[in-house]
Symmetry: D3
Subunit: 274 residues, 6 copies
C-alpha cells in the first residue's frame, strides 16, 4: 500500500522560468527515458516477481522513489511555466516571448494543461505503457532496468548541459546521481544471483536440448563487401564460459525459397491468384 508525504524528495527551484525548458523537461517525465516509465516498470516487475522476496522489495521500493521523481519534475515544469503568456494582450505576450511559447515551447502547456506538466514527452506524444518491460525473468528484467537507467542518465546529462538555470542544474545533478546508483543497483542484483557467467544466456533455465548450439557462438557477417569487424565478440571464450566465439563470413542461406503457392477459393484474393 502506498502513502504520501507532502514535501518533495529534494528541493526544486527555478531561477528564471523558461517555457522552452518546460517542454524539454517533459522528456524526463513522459519520454521512454523518463520517470513514468521506470516507476511503472519497477512496479509491474515487483507485482510479478517470483523467487527471492528481497528483490521484490527492492523493485517496489525503487518504484516508489521514482514516483517521487515524477512529482519533482512535474513541479519543475509548472515553475518553468510561471509567467508564460496566456493572452495576446498581455505585456509579456510580445515578441520574443510569443515566439518562445509558440516556437520552442509546447502549445498544449497553455491550451490543455493550464501551465502545468503533462504525461507526454518533449514532442507532446503521450507515454504509453507498452514500454513497461516486465517478463517475469529476473535477469531479463534487470537488463531492461539498466538500459532504462542508462537512457535516463544520458537524458538528464543532456538537460543539464542545455540549461544554465542554477536551480535546475542543482535539481538535475540530483537526478543524475540517483541514476548512477540505480544502474549499479540492478547490475548488483545480477551479481547477487551469481554473476553474468552463471546467468547467461538468459533465461538460464532453457534446457540445452532446446537450443541449436552449433549456431550459438558465431558472429554472422551479412556484409557482402566488407570483412567481419574483429573484436571481443568473435575472439576468445564466450561470456557464459561454454564455448569459443567465431565468425561465419559470407552467409549461406540454409532454408528453402518461401513460396506459398496458389490462393484458396473464398479467401478474398483475386481470381488471378488462384
Amino acid at each position: 500500500m502506498f502513502q504520501h508525504s507532502s514535501k518533495l524528495q529534494y528541493p526544486v527551484k527555478v531561477d528564471a522560468p523558461d517555457p522552452q525548458f518546460a517542454m524539454l523537461l517533459q522528456q524526463a517525465i513522459g519520454g521512454v527515458e523518463g520517470e513514468i516509465r521506470v516507476a511503472m516498470q519497477y512496479f509491474f516487475q515487483a507485482m510479478g516477481a517470483r523467487g527471492d522476496d528481497r528483490i521484490r522489495d527492492l523493485l517496489m521500493s525503487t518504484a516508489t522513489e521514482e514516483l517521487s521523481h515524477i512529482e519533482m519534475l512535474g513541479h519543475a515544469v509548472a515553475l518553468n511555466l510561471e509567467g508564460a503568456p496566456v493572452s495576446y494582450q498581455e505585456e509579456s505576450a510580445k515578441d520574443p516571448i510569443i515566439n518562445a511559447i509558440l516556437g520552442g515551447a509546447n502549445p498544449r502547456h497553455l491550451l490543455s494543461s493550464g501551465l502545468s506538466a503533462m504525461p507526454v514527452n518533449a514532442n507532446g506524444v503521450p507515454f504509453d505503457m507498452s514500454h513497461v518491460y516486465a517478463t517475469g525473468n529476473i535477469a531479463a528484467d534487470m537488463m531492461a532496468n539498466v538500459a532504462a537507467e542508462s537512457g535516463g542518465r544520458v537524458l538528464a546529462s543532456r538537460l543539464y548541459n542545455w540549461t544554465d538555470d542554477k536551480g535546475m542544474k542543482d535539481f538535475l545533478s540530483f537526478l543524475i546521481a540517483r541514476d548512477t546508483y540505480h544502474q549499479q543497483q540492478w547490475l548488483a542484483v545480477i551479481e547477487e544471483l551469481g554473476g553474468l557467467e552463471k546467468n547467461l544466456p538468459i533465461p538460464n533455465s532453457t534446457p540445452e536440448a532446446h537450443e541449436a548450439t552449433e549456431h550459438s557462438y558465431y558472429y554472422l557477417n551479412t556484409l557482402t563487401d566488407k570483412k567481419a569487424p574483429e573484436g571481443r565478440w568473435n575472439t576468445g571464450p564466450s561470456l557464459d564460459g561454454r564455448a569459443e566465439y567465431s565468425t561465419r563470413q559470407q552467409p549461406e542461406p540454409e532454408g528453402q525459397e518461401p513460396s506459398l503457392g496458389k490462393a484458396r477459393k473464398g479467401s478474398g484474393a483475386q481470381n488471378e491468384q488462384m
Copy 2:
C-alpha cells in the same frame, strides 16, 4: 545498401498447421520482444553510431540478420494458417476448428491479411517504433540491446515449450541459439570498450561536477514497515569502483511543499481558483 537472396536463412517447416500457434508466433514478429524491434533498433543505432566504425558495422550487420528472422517468422505464420477455414460452409469450419479460429486465433489473420503474417503482436496490437531505443551513447545502446535479446530468448523459450510441432521446435531452437549469441555479442562490445568498471556510470563522459555524488551510492529504502533488503546493492565497493554502497533507511523529504498558489486571470481556471 541492402540486397536480398531468395532463400530463407534457416529451414522453416510446419508439420501440422495450427492457427492458434500462428497467433502466438506473432509476438516474435511484432511484439516488443520481437524481431521487427531488434532489426529496426540496430538499424537506427547503426545510422547514428559515432566513434569506432567496427561497432557501426556490427550493428548494421546484425540488423540485416534480424530482417531475415522476420522473413522466417512470417513464413512460419503463413504455414500455420494453411487450411484454416474461410467460409462457414467449409468442412473444416465445423467445431472445433471454428472455435480454434475464433477462440484462440487472431480473426484478422482471416479478415485482414488473407492467412498470412501481420506486423502485430499476439494480441493483434501493431508494433510501434517508439520501441526503437537508440540514444547515440554506445554503452546505453548496448544495454538496451542485451535487454531486447534477453526478452527475445525468454519469448522463444516459451514458444518452444508451448508447441509440440517438430518443425516449429527445430526452427525455434535456431532462434534461441542466435539470441544466445546476440546477448553476448552486445556485452562483448562493452568489454571491448574497457569493461563495466570503465563504462559506468553511463554516460561516463558526464563530468563529476554535474553530479550530486553524495546521492550516488546509497539504496533508498522507501518502505515504511520493513527494513531494507540486504545484498550486493548496499554492501561493498560500487561497481564503478568509485565508492562504497550504503543504505538510507526511512526517507526524509528534503524538498519543499510544492504549492503553486493562485491561478492567473485569463488562464481558463475557475474564478474560485484565483
Copy 3:
C-alpha cells in the same frame, strides 16, 4: 442516416491568416478536448443507447451538430494557412515567416496536408478513438459528456484569449456558446432521470449486497505528515442520501503481503527464481 447541406453552420472568417494559430486550432479538432471526440462519443453512445428513446435522439442529434463543428474548424484551419510559404524562394518565405512555419507552426500542414486541416491535435498527434467513452450506462455517459464539454469550453476560451483576429474571435464565441449549452444539456438529462440523489452511485442498479458499504462513505487520508483536508467531502450527509461522510486518518493496510513464491519450471524464469 446522415445528410449534408453545403453551407457552414455559422460564418467562419479569418482577417489575417496565421499559420501558428492554424496549429493551435488543431487542438479543437483532433485534441481530446476537441470536436472529433464529442461527435464520435455521442454517435457511439446513441448507437448503444437503451431505454428512453428521447435520449438516443438527443445524442444522435448532438453528434450531428458536432460534425458540423469539425467542418467549421477545418475551414478555419485552411483559411489560416492561406499564403503560408511552400518554397524557399517565395517572397513570403523570408524571415520571420519561415520561423512562423517552422517555429510555431505544424510543418505537416505544409508537408502532409497541403495547407489544410488534419485530424491531429496541436502537437500533431493523431486523435485515437479510445477517447470515445460510451459505457451503455446513461448516467456514466452523461458525466463523460459534461467532462468533455467542460474541457472543450476551457480550450475554446483559451484560444479566444490567445488570438486577436476578429473573425476568429467571433467564430470562437459561437463555439463557447454551444459548449455552454451542451454542458447543461447533459446535466439536464440527469435531472430528467430523477436528479443526482436518485442516480448516485452510478450505476444505481448495482445491488447493495454487491458493495462493502462500510467502505463507501469515508475519505481515506493517505498523507503521512498532514491532517485530512476538511470540506464537504468528509462532512455532512452523502450526496446519495444514504449515509454520513467521515474520514479515515492514517491508513492501516488490511491485506496480506503479496508474495508469489517460487517460479514454476518451464515458465521462462531464471533458475535462481525456482
Copy 4:
C-alpha cells in the same frame, strides 16, 4: 514524496484460479475505466492544482490510494494465473484448459509477463497516458473525475456479476464501495466551491463578452424527419440560472459555402487543381 507499506490495502483472495478472469481483470488495471488512469489523472491534476490547497491534497491523497488499487489488482491477476499451463506436455495443458488459455485468456500472460499482470486492458491494448485528463480548471477536472469513477464502478459491477469466485467477489465489493465514495468526493468539491449554479458554465471565468450568448441556451434539433425530443434540456430555467431553455427546430446554416478556390503553384497539387 511517496512511501510504501508492504501489505495490501485490502485482502485479495482467489478461491479457484481462472486465467480467463485474469484477462477480464486487466480492464480494471489498464483500461480507460481502470486504476492506472485514475491514479495518474489525480496525480497530474494535483501537480497542476492552483487555488485552494485542500483540493491539491485531496487529489494527491486519492492518487496515492489508487496506486494501492493497482497493486491489489496486479496481485489478483497473478493469483488467477497460478497453475495455468506453460508447456504442451503438462497435465493441465489438455482440453479444456488449453482452450482457456488460448481461447478466452490473454496469451501474453504466458508469453510476455510470465503469469503476472500487465499495464494493458482486456484486449491486451496498453494503457496510454493521453487519457490523463487534467486541464488546470478545477471544475472541469472534477467532472472528468466523476466520469472516470462512474465508468470504473460500472466496470467493477460487471466484473462482480461475471465471476462466482468468492474471494474475487469480496475484493470487487471493496472496489465498488470506494468508487461509490470517490464519485461523490469529486462532486462534493463542486459543492464546496459553491455548487453547480455558481460553477456553470465551466470555466466560469470566461467573460460573457467572449460568448455569443444568443446561442447558449437552445437545443439544436438536427433531425430532419423528427420533432425535437422534449425534456428538461429544452424546458425551464437553465441550470446556471442565467436564461430559459428553448429549441431551434430545423437548423438553418448561417455560414458560407466553404470553397477554397485554386491550389497554389509549388504546393504539390495536381496541375488540374491550379
Copy 5:
C-alpha cells in the same frame, strides 16, 4: 452542415444473434479497412480540396454516406450481442456460450460498452486518425480512396463468406455493392481529370528539372541470386508515356560509406566514442 434522418440507409436484420460475429463486424467499423476510416478520410479531403468544386462535393457527399454505414454496422453489432450473458448465473452463461463470449468474442463488448459497438477493430484496437490520408493532391487522394475501398470490399466479402446469417448476408451484400461503386467513383475522377497518362507521375506538377529522370524508368533488381522477374513493369512504354521501361540488374551502390566520425564533447556519448 450535417443533418440526420432517424432511419437507417438500408435494413439491418439479424436472424440469430452471435457475439463472435459482433466482434468480426468491428473490423468493418474500426479497422483500417472500415467505415470510420473512409468517412473521416473523405471528410478531411473535402475540407482541404482545392480546384474543381464538383470533386469537393463528391467527397463530402460520400463522407456523409459512409457515416450512415457506420450507423448500420453499429446497429448490426448491437443486434448480434442481444442475449449475450452478463452474469455467471444466467442460464445462457453455461457452456458453450461462456466460451463464445470469452473465447471468440470481445470481452469489452460486455465489460466496457454494455453490449454495443465500439470504435475498435476485430482485435479491440481503437481506430486512430493517422489513417486518414489526405494530401491536398487530388490524384494521390483518389488513389488512397481506391485502396481504401478495395480493402473494404475484400473485408466485406470475407465477412459474407464467414456468416450464414441471412439478415447479415443481405446487409453485407449491400455494403459490397456500395464498395463496388466507390472504387470506380474515385477512379472515374482520375478519368475526368484526363486519365492516368496525364496524371502520372503524381504529382504531375513537379517540374521535370526536379527529377533525376535517368532513375525514373528502371526496375531495380536487388535480388542477388535470381534474375529480375519479367513483366509489364520492365517491358514496353511507361504508363506516363514518357519513356521505355528497363531493368537494372545487380545493384551497384553509387554512394559513399556513411561514417559519422567521432562524437562531440557534451553530446552525452561515451568517452570511448570521442
Copy 6:
C-alpha cells in the same frame, strides 16, 4: 535472406547543415508517406503473396530497395544535425541557433537520439505498423502501393521545394525519380494481370450473387441543398464494363429506426434504462 553492402545506394551530401530541415526529413523516414512504411508494406505483402511468384519477387526486391532509402535518409538527417548546439555555453548556441533548435527543430534530436535520425515523423510521432497495408489480395495491395508512392512523391516534391541546399536537392531528385517508377511499377502489375476492367471490382472473385448489384452503379447524392455534381462518375459505362452509371438524388432511407429497447438486468445500466 537479407545482405548488406557498406555503401549507400546514391550519394548523400549536405552543403549547409540545417537542424530544421533534419526535422522535416523525418517525415520521409517515419511519416505515413515515408520509407519505413513502404519497406515494411512490400515486405509483408511479399511474405503473404500467393499466386504468381514473379510478383512476390517484385515485392521483396522493392522492399529491399526501400530499406536502402531509409538508410540514405537516416544519413541525411545526421548530416543536417552536424554542429547543432548541445550545450548552452557553446558559441553556436546563441541566437538564432537556439531558436532553430528549439523553434523549428525536433528537441529529441538533441535529447533522445544524440543528433541522429529517429523512426518518427516531422511532429516526432513514432511510426506505427498499422500502416502496413497487406490484404492478401494482389489488386488491393497494388492500389495501396500506388497510393503510398503517390503520397511519397508529393512529400519529396514539397521537401525539394522547401530546401535550397544543393546536396539535398540532388538527393531528393533521386527519390522523386524512384517514386515515379514505383507508382507505375505497381500499376503495371494490374496491367500484367489483365488491366483494370478485368480486375474490378476488387476482389474480382466475389461471386455476383454476394452483391446487391442494384446498388452497385449509382452515385448517391446526400447533399440536401445541391444537385449532384456531374462527371464521369455518374455518366457512361462503368469502368468494369458491367453497367451504366447513374445518380440517386435525395436519398431515401430504406431501413428501420434503430431502437434497441430496454437495457437488461445485470448489464450495468441505470435503473431508469430498464
